[in-house]
Amino acid sequence: DVKVTQSSRYLVKRTGEKVFLECVQDMDHENMFWYRQDPGLGLRLIYFSYDVKMKEKGDIPEGYSVSREKKERFSLILESASTNQTSMYLCASSSPGGGDYNEQFFGPGTRLTVL
């Protein structure tokens, strides 16, 4: 059974703290993604990685950075958390599809609250 796991389901942090969100997949996928999900806005892509140490900005990268040192692990970093980063964060992974469906598989999400 394919699996994408995220380190925490719920996280509460204070403004200014450095926050790490971890994602691990066991499907040997090359692609990994970080989204944030907000009511009325759907899912918006923060960062995308297509290989180890490779990354590409998504639609809303400001205030975030990422790290991919190993194929199975993709970390999202909030260098200095702010209240407007309170959100649900979803990680996903996929094989490079190009001309194929390459379905994205999602983790359970981390609900982050920044106080």
């Binding site: 994408v4 692609n31 993604f33 989204y35 009325g40 806005l41 759907g42 899912l43 918006r44 892509l45 995308f48 297509y50 998504g58 979803l90 996903a92 996929s94 490079p96 599809g97 190009g98 001309g99 469906y101 390459n102 379905e103 994205q104 999602f106 983790g107 359970p108 999400g109």
Partner: protein
């Protein structure tokens, strides 16, 4: 840039009835894929159904089917014989052929009433 629009933020329907969720998209591309994802309450997002733009035949997966109208850029999801387990957020998504990234709509919260 591609955009995906889901005009129904919330819907509810009686159990066993049929419901249709709407999705429209805007793109200048000719080759692309369309997806419907389901996010049950407090559970992981899963793929429900997918469609290749070059296929005229509408995709079906058991009780789930789509009405794909390429010229109108419309991709609606029909759920037949709705069940309580269909209660979820449903997201329409779009991907250009050769591009790894998905563009999502804002979602429709569907509630099945017993």
């Amino acid at each position: 840039a591609q955009t995906v629009t889901q005009s129904q933020p919330e819907m509810s329907v009686q159990e066993a009835e049929t419901v249709t969720l709407s999705c429209t998209y805007d793109t200048s591309e000719n080759n692309y894929y369309l997806f419907w994802y389901k996010q049950p309450p407090s559970r992981q997002m899963i793929l429900v159904i997918r469609q290749e733009a070059y296929k005229q035949q509408n995709a079906t997966e058991n009780r789930f089917s789509v009405n794909f109208q390429k010229a109108a850029k419309s991709f609606s999801l029909k759920i037949s014989d709705s069940q309580l387990g269909d209660t979820a957020m449903y997201f329409c998504a779009f991907r250009v052929f050769g591009n790894e990234k998905l563009t999502f709509g804002t979602g429709t919260r569907l509630t099945i009433i017993p």
